[in-house]
C-alpha cells in the first residue's frame, strides 16, 4: 500500500501541459498580433483560479512540479487588469496581494495559507467582475458586460430553486433594446446579489463543517471565500441596516477569515454563529412583491401539508409509512426555506412574533426528523396542532398582498403535487398518487388554466388531456394511475406535462399582445355562447303559434343569467376571497342542476309538445284546440318557472367561466382590446344565432321537431359527460379509465372521455332520451285509446239512444287518426 506522503507527481502533467499550452499560445499570439494580444477577461480569471488550484493540488498531493502561481500572476494582465483598474481597483489590489501571499505559501509549503489566498482571490475576482458588469451595463454595453458576466458564481440548484438567469436575460434584453440600462442594472444586480448571498451561506456552512472535521485547508478556503463574498454584499447591508451594523458585520467576517487561516477552529465556529445571527433576516436582493406572495403561498401550502402527510404515516404511536413521514419532513423544510426568505420583512414588522414562529417551526422539524429517524413518534393530532398553530400565526402576520393567489405560486403547487404523485407511484401508493394528481389538476384548473384559456386554449386542452386521459400521443396520468403504471412508465407523460406547464407558465407570465387579446376574447365569447344558443334554439323551436308566448320566459331567463354571472363572480371574490378555490365545485353543482333542468325539459318536450303536436297535426279539426290546451297547460306557473330556469342555466353555466377568462385577458392586455374582442365575439354569435333561428323557422314543422329533439338530446349528452368529468375532478366521483383513444376535441365538444363513469352516464342519458320518447309515445297513444274508447262508448250509447245514426261518421274518425299516426310514425322511424 502506498502511503499518502509518497504520491508521485507525474500524473498532474496533463493539466499543467494544458495550461502551459494555453499560456504559450497566448504568448505567441501576443507577439504576432498586438490587436489580438490579450485573452478575454474571463479567460484570464479562469487561468488564475485554475493555476492556483494546480498549485494547491501540488501541495495537497505532495507533488513537486510547482510553478503554477507564476502562471496565475502572468494571467493578471490585459483586459482583466484594465477592467479592474477601471471599475474595481480595490479588488485588483486584493488579487495582487494575495498572489504574493500564495507565492510565499508555495515556497514554504504552507497549504493552509495557499488555500486562504486562493479563496480570497476567487472572491475578489468575482467582486471585480461584478463591479465591471454593473459599469458596462449602466454604460449600455451589453456585449462587453456579457463577457465579464462569465466571471461569476451560480446559486446552487435545489428542488425548489433553479440556477438564475435574470442577469443574462437582462443583458439580452438590453442588447435587443427591450430594456433600458437602468432597469438592466437593477436586474443584473438582483441576480448577482442573490447568488453571492446564497453562496456566502453555503460557504459559511462549509467552513463550519470543515472546522468540525478539522480539515484546515478546506476551512481556510471556505472562510476566505465567505469573507470575500461579504465584500460584495456589505454595501447593500449598510444601506439596509446602517453603518454601525455594517462595521460590526465586517469585523465578524474579517475575524472569520483570520481565525480560519490560523486554524483556530473554536474561534471559527464562534464567528460562524455570530455571522448567522448578524445576517438574520437580511436579504441582499430584496424580493419583489410577487416573489413574496409566491413564498408566502408556498409556506402556507407546505405547512398545511405537513400534518396531512404525517397523519397518513403514523398510527398508535408508530410510523406505519416511512414514505409519508419523509414527505412531511420535506414539506416542513420547504416551509422553513420560504419563511427564511420572508423573515426580513416579518422581522421588521414583528420581531418577537417572527422569532417565535421560526423557533416553533424548528421544533416541529425536529419532531418530524426524530420520527423519521426511528425515535419518538408524536401523535398525529399533536403535529396537526403544532402545524396549525404555526400556520395561523403566520397567516396573521402576512400582509394581505401576500395572501392573494399568484400564478407563480399556483405553478409551484402544481409541480409540488406532481412530485408527490410520482413519489407515491414509486411507493406503490396509487390512492395517494391519485389524490395528488387531483390536487395538481385542481391547482391548475382554477388557477393558471383560466388565464391560459385566454392566451392559448389549445395548450390548455393538451395539458388537461395529459392530466386525464391522454394527449400528444401519450396516455394521461389518470389512466396511468388507474392502470397502476410504474414510475418509469409514468415518466414520459410527466415530462411532457411539465414541459407544457412550463410553456404555459411562460405564456401566462407575459403580457398578451392586443391582437391575441382581441382574437382570444372574441373566441371565448363565441365559443361559450354557442352552447347557450343551441339549447335556447332547440327549446324555443317548437314554440310557435299559440305556444309562442312560452319563448318569453326562456329569453328572460337567458338575459337574467348575464348579470347573474357577473354578480356571482363578484360575490365569490368578495365573500370567499378567491373564486378559484371554489370554482370547480360550483361548476360541478351548476352542471348537475343544469342536467336536472334539461331532463325535465326533455321529458316535457316529448310529452307536451312532440307527441301532442304530432297527434294534433293528424287531427286537423281538433289541432287548434289541442294546441291551445297544450299551451294552456304549459303556461302553468311551474312550467313558466321551468322555462325561466332553462334559459337561465343555459347562459349562467358558461357565464361565470367567460367572465373569468375575460378578466384574465383584461389584466394582461387591457380593457380596450378585450372589449373589441367581446364585441366581435358577440357579433359572430349574433350571426350564428340569427342563422340558426332563421333556418329553424323555415323548417317544415315535423322535421323541425326531429331536429329540435336531437339537439336537446345532444346537449344533454355533452353536458352529462362534462359534468361527470367535473365531478371526478373535484373527487366526488370515482375514475375508471378505459383504454381507448378518444381525440381531445371529442371531450371539448361532445363531453366524451375514456372513463367508465362518463361513458356510462352518457349511455344512461341516451337511454333516458329514447325511453322518454317511447314512454311519451306510449302514454299519448294510451291516452288517445282511452279517449277513443270513451268516445266510442259515448257514440255507442248515443247510438243506442238514437238508432237513426245521425252522427255515425264521427265514430270512425279517432280510429282512423290513430291508425294514421301509427303508420306515419313507423315510416318516420324507418
Amino acid at each position: 500500500m502506498t502511503p499518502a506522503s509518497t504520491i508521485s507527481g507525474s500524473a498532474r502533467s496533463r493539466v499543467i501541459a494544458a495550461v502551459a499550452t494555453i499560456v504559450a499560445a497566448v504568448a505567441f499570439f501576443s507577439a504576432a498580433s498586438p490587436a489580438q494580444a490579450a485573452d478575454p477577461a474571463w479567460q484570464s480569471a479562469d487561468q488564475i483560479t485554475t493555476s492556483l488550484f494546480n498549485a494547491q493540488t501540488d501541495l495537497i498531493l505532495n507533488d513537486p512540479s510547482g510553478g503554477s502561481v507564476e502562471e496565475a500572476k502572468k494571467a493578471l494582465s490585459g483586459p482583466l487588469r484594465r477592467g479592474f483598474e477601471a471599475s474595481s481597483p480595490a479588488a485588483l489590489k486584493v488579487v495582487e496581494e494575495q498572489l504574493d501571499r500564495a507565492n510565499r505559501a508555495v515556497a514554504s509549503g504552507d497549504s493552509v495559507a495557499l488555500a486562504a489566498a486562493r479563496g480570497t482571490i476567487t472572491a475578489a475576482l468575482r467582486r471585480g467582475a461584478f463591479d465591471r458588469v454593473i459599469d458596462l451595463t449602466a454604460a449600455d454595453r451589453p456585449e462587453a458586460a456579457r463577457e465579464w458576466l462569465q466571471i461569476r458564481d451560480f446559486r446552487q440548484s435545489t428542488r425548489y430553486t433553479r440556477v438564475g438567469t435574470e442577469a443574462t436575460d437582462a443583458l439580452i434584453a438590453l442588447e435587443d433594446g427591450d430594456l433600458g440600462p437602468d432597469d438592466a442594472v437593477l436586474q443584473v444586480r438582483k441576480d448577482l446579489l442573490d447568488t453571492y448571498q446564497s453562496r456566502l451561506g453555503t460557504n459559511l456552512e462549509e467552513a463550519d463543517k470543515a472546522a468540525e472535521r478539522r480539515f484546515p485547508e478546506r476551512l481556510a478556503e471556505s472562510a476566505a471565500i465567505t469573507a470575500g463574498y461579504w465584500q460584495i454584499l456589505t454595501g447593500e447591508y449598510e444601506d439596509q441596516r446602517g453603518p454601525e451594523a455594517a462595521t460590526r458585520a465586517n469585523l465578524i467576517f474579517e475575524n472569520l477569515a483570520g481565525d480560519a487561516a490560523a486554524g483556530d477552529t473554536a474561534a471559527v465556529r464562534r464567528a460562524v454563529r455570530q455571522a448567522t445571527r448578524e445576517l438574520e433576516g437580511f436579504v441582499a436582493a430584496p424580493l419583489t412583491e410577487e416573489e413574496k406572495a409566491r413564498r408566502a403561498s408556498q409556506f402556507s401550502r407546505f405547512i398545511d401539508l405537513v400534518p396531512v402527510e404525517y397523519g397518513r404515516g403514523v398510527a398508535d404511536g408508530k410510523v406505519t409509512k416511512a414514505f409519508e413521514i419523509q414527505e412531511a419532513v420535506a414539506f416542513a423544510e420547504g416551509a422553513s426555506q420560504a419563511l427564511k426568505d420572508l423573515s426580513s420583512d416579518l422581522l421588521e414588522q414583528d420581531p418577537a412574533g417572527t422569532r417565535s414562529l421560526i423557533r416553533d417551526l424548528g421544533l416541529l422539524q425536529a419532531d418530524l426528523q426524530t420520527a423519521a429517524e426511528g425515535g419518538a413518534v408524536k401523535e398525529a393530532g399533536e403535529i396537526e396542532q403544532m402545524a396549525g398553530d404555526i400556520a395561523e400565526r403566520a397567516e396573521g402576520m402576512f400582509p394581505d398582498e401576500w395572501k392573494a393567489s399568484s400564478d407563480d405560486a399556483d405553478y409551484d403547487l402544481v409541480n409540488i403535487s406532481l412530485d408527490q404523485m410520482l413519489n407515491a407511484i414509486n411507493a406503490g401508493e396509487y390512492e395517494i398518487a391519485e389524490q395528488n394528481r387531483l390536487s395538481a389538476y385542481a391547482f391548475f384548473e382554477f388557477g393558471p388554466e383560466i388565464k391560459l384559456q385566454g392566451f392559448d386554449p389549445g395548450l390548455s386542452l393538451e395539458i388537461e388531456g395529459m392530466f386525464w386521459y391522454g394527449a400528444r400521443d401519450l396516455p394521461g396520468l389518470a389512466t396511468l394511475i388507474a392502470d397502476q403504471a410504474s414510475g418509469r412508465e409514468t415518466m414520459p407523460t410527466l415530462v411532457e406535462l411539465r414541459s407544457a406547464i412550463d410553456e404555459a407558465h411562460e405564456i401566462t407570465g407575459s403580457d398578451a399582445s392586443p391582437g391575441t387579446a382581441i382574437t382570444n376574447a372574441a373566441l371565448i365569447v363565441f365559443r361559450e355562447g354557442l352552447e347557450a344558443i343551441l339549447i335556447i334554439a332547440a327549446i324555443t323551436a317548437s314554440m310557435i303559434g299559440a305556444r309562442q308566448v312560452l319563448r318569453k320566459p326562456v329569453y328572460r331567463g337567458a338575459l337574467l343569467a348575464i348579470p347573474a354571472s357577473v354578480i356571482s363572480y363578484l360575490l365569490m371574490v368578495l365573500l370567499l376571497g378567491s373564486f378559484a378555490k371554489y370554482g370547480e365545485k360550483v361548476e360541478a353543482v351548476v352542471g348537475v342542476m343544469a342536467i336536472g333542468v334539461l331532463l325535465v325539459v326533455l321529458n316535457w318536450f316529448f310529452h307536451k309538445v312532440y307527441w301532442t303536436e304530432w297527434i294534433a297535426s293528424h287531427r286537423k279539426r281538433t289541432k287548434e284546440v289541442t294546441t291551445a290546451i297544450a299551451a294552456g297547460s304549459a303556461t302553468g306557473a311551474a312550467t313558466v318557472f321551468g322555462l325561466y330556469a332553462v334559459g337561465f342555466e343555459a347562459v349562467f353555466r358558461e357565464g361565470m367561466e367567460t367572465v373569468l377568462f375575460l378578466q384574465a385577458l383584461q389584466l394582461a392586455a387591457g380593457t380596450g382590446a378585450v372589449a373589441i374582442g367581446v364585441a366581435i365575439g358577440l357579433a359572430a354569435m349574433g350571426v350564428v344565432g340569427f342563422l340558426t333561428f332563421k333556418l329553424e323557422s323555415r323548417l317544415p314543422y315535423k322535421k323541425m321537431l326531429i331536429v329540435t329533439g336531437v339537439l336537446i338530446a345532444l346537449v344533454l349528452f355533452t353536458m352529462v359527460g362534462q359534468t361527470v368529468r367535473t365531478l371526478q375532478g373535484v373527487g366526488w366521483f370515482p375514475i375508471h379509465p378505459i383504454d381507448i383513444d378518444i381525440p381531445l376535441w371529442m371531450g371539448t365538444w361532445l363531453g366524451i372521455y375514456p372513463s367508465v363513469e362518463t361513458l356510462v352516464a352518457q349511455i344512461l342519458s341516451v337511454v333516458f332520451v329514447i325511453g322518454s320518447y317511447w314512454a311519451a309515445g306510449w302514454y299519448s297513444k294510451r291516452k288517445m285509446r282511452i279517449q277513443r274508447e270513451q268516445y266510442e262508448a259515448e257514440q255507442a250509447a248515443l247510438k243506442a239512444e238514437n238508432p237513426s245514426g245521425e252522427n255515425g261518421r264521427n265514430g270512425a274518425e279517432p280510429h282512423d287518426d290513430a291508425v294514421s299516426v301509427s303508420q306515419e310514425r313507423t315510416r318516420e322511424t324507418v
Binding site: 480539515f215 415530462v495 363565441f526
Partner: protein, 365 residues
C-alpha cells in the same frame, strides 16, 4: 333505407357545427405539428447511448446466467449454504467469479452513459432503479420497483440494483448475504475482503431485474430522439453531483480502508472511476451541443469546454493515480471533491445561461 335530410335541416346542423369547428381550429395551438416532423435529434449522443445500452444488456445477460446458476446450486442444496460450499464449492466459486467479472464490466458500461440516462427526465427513472436510487426510507429518491423473490417474499423498494448486487457479491451487506456461514468462497481457508456469499433468492431476483431493466432501457434508447433540450438538461442535472460522488468515494473502502468503510457499495470499482466515466459521457454530450452554443456566444462555448475538459482530466488523473496504487486520504478527497463540485456547479450554471440564450428548455425531472 337512408332518408335524405331537407337542405334547411342540414344547414341548421351545419351552421353551428362549422362555427364550432372554426373556433376549435382557431383556439387550438397545434403544438404537436412540430413533433410530427421527422427529426433524428443528436445522433452522435444517441449512438453513444445505444452502444452502451447494448453493452449493458450483454453484461447483465452474463450476470443473470451466473446469478441463476448460483441460485440453482443453492436450491439443489436446500439453501443450506454450508452444505453448498462443501458439495459444490468449485461451481459456486465459478458462478460468483463470473458474476463479479460481469458486474465489473456492466458498471462502467452504465456509468459512461449515466450522464445521459440520468440527465434526460424521460429515462431518469432507469438511473434511479439501476444505479442511484435509495430504498423506501427516502421517498424523494427511492427506486420504483419491488423485488419478488423466488420464495414469494417481496422486497419493497429495496434500493438500486447495482448496490444490491455489488454488496451481496462482495459481502458488505449482511442483509443480502447468507446468514451464519463463513463465506470462504475460494476455499483458501480464510475470508478475504470482498468475499461474499449472496442470499440466493434476493440475488436471483436482483440479477433478473437488472437484466430486464437493461433490456427495457436498450429498447427505449433505440426509440428515443435526443433533442438539444435533453442534452442541455442532462449536463445541468448531472454535472453538479460531484460532491456527492466524492463523499461516497471518501467513505468507501478505497479511501477509508478495507473494513473501515462506512459506504457498503463501491467495493468492486472505485467511485472515482465512476466519476471519470460519468464525466466522459457528459463531455461527449457537450461536444455535440458546443457548436450551437458557439454560434450564439463563442466565449461562453469556449469557457464551458475548457472547464469541462479540465474537470474531466482532473478526474481521470486521480483515477489513474488510484489505479496505479496511490492511496488518498479523506482530507485530500474532501478538498478535491469541494473544488470539483465548485467547477461542476459553474459548468451547470454556464450551460443554463447558454440554454437561455438559445431559448432551449431545461426540463423538469
Amino acid at each position: 333505407m337512408i332518408r335524405k335530410f331537407p337542405r334547411p335541416i342540414l344547414l341548421l346542423i351545419a351552421v353551428p357545427a362549422i362555427a364550432a369547428a372554426f373556433i376549435a381550429g382557431c383556439g387550438s395551438d397545434d403544438s404537436s405539428s412540430d413533433s410530427d416532423q421527422p427529426d433524428a435529434g443528436l445522433t452522435a449522443v444517441k449512438s453513444y447511448l445505444t452502444e452502451h445500452t447494448a453493452d449493458l444488456v450483454a453484461q447483465t445477460d452474463t450476470l443473470k446466467t451466473a446469478g441463476n446458476a448460483y441460485y440453482d446450486l443453492a436450491k439443489a442444496n436446500d439453501f443450506d449454504y454450508e452444505k453448498m460450499l462443501k458439495n459444490d464449492g468449485e461451481a459456486v466459486n465459478a458462478a460468483l467469479t463470473d458474476a463479479k467479472n460481469a458486474f465489473i464490466k456492466a458498471n462502467p458500461a452504465y456509468e459512461e452513459m449515466e450522464g445521459i440516462v440520468a440527465g434526460i427526465p424521460r429515462t431518469a427513472q432507469y438511473d434511479t432503479d439501476i444505479d442511484a436510487g435509495s430504498d423506501a426510507s427516502d421517498p424523494e429518491s427511492a427506486v420504483s420497483f419491488n423485488l419478488t423473490l423466488p420464495n414469494g417474499e417481496v422486497m419493497k423498494q429495496p434500493g438500486n440494483l447495482f448496490f444490491l448486487i455489488e454488496t451481496a457479491l462482495y459481502g458488505t451487506n449482511e442483509d443480502l448475504t447468507a446468514e451464519g456461514v463463513k463465506p470462504d468462497v475460494d476455499g483458501d481457508g480464510k475470508v478475504s475482503f470482498g468475499e461474499g456469499l449472496p442470499e440466493a433468492n434476493a440475488f436471483k431476483a436482483s440479477v433478473d431485474e437488472i437484466n430486464k431493466q437493461a433490456k427495457d432501457l436498450d429498447k427505449d434508447a433505440q426509440e428515443i430522439v435526443i433533442t438539444p433540450s435533453d442534452a442541455f438538461t442532462s449536463i445541468t442535472v448531472m454535472t453538479p453531483t460531484m460532491s456527492e460522488y466524492f463523499e461516497q468515494w471518501k467513505l468507501s473502502s478505497f479511501v477509508a480502508g478495507e473494513g473501515s468503510q462506512q459506504e457498503e457499495g463501491f467495493v468492486a470499482t472505485s467511485r472515482l472511476s465512476d466519476i471519470a466515466d460519468i464525466l466522459t459521457g457528459i463531455d461527449f454530450t457537450y461536444a455535440e451541443i458546443e457548436p450551437q452554443i458557439a454560434e450564439k456566444n463563442a466565449n461562453q462555448a469556449e469557457q464551458t469546454a475548457a472547464e469541462l475538459g479540465n474537470l474531466l482530466s482532473t478526474a481521470e488523473d486521480l483515477r489513474d493515480r488510484e489505479a496505479a496504487g496511490e492511496k488518498f486520504t479523506a482530507k485530500q478527497a474532501d478538498q478535491l471533491g469541494a473544488e470539483m463540485q465548485a467547477q461542476a456547479e459553474r459548468i451547470a450554471g454556464q450551460v443554463t445561461q447558454a440554454a437561455k440564450d438559445l431559448d432551449i428548455e431545461i426540463q423538469e425531472g
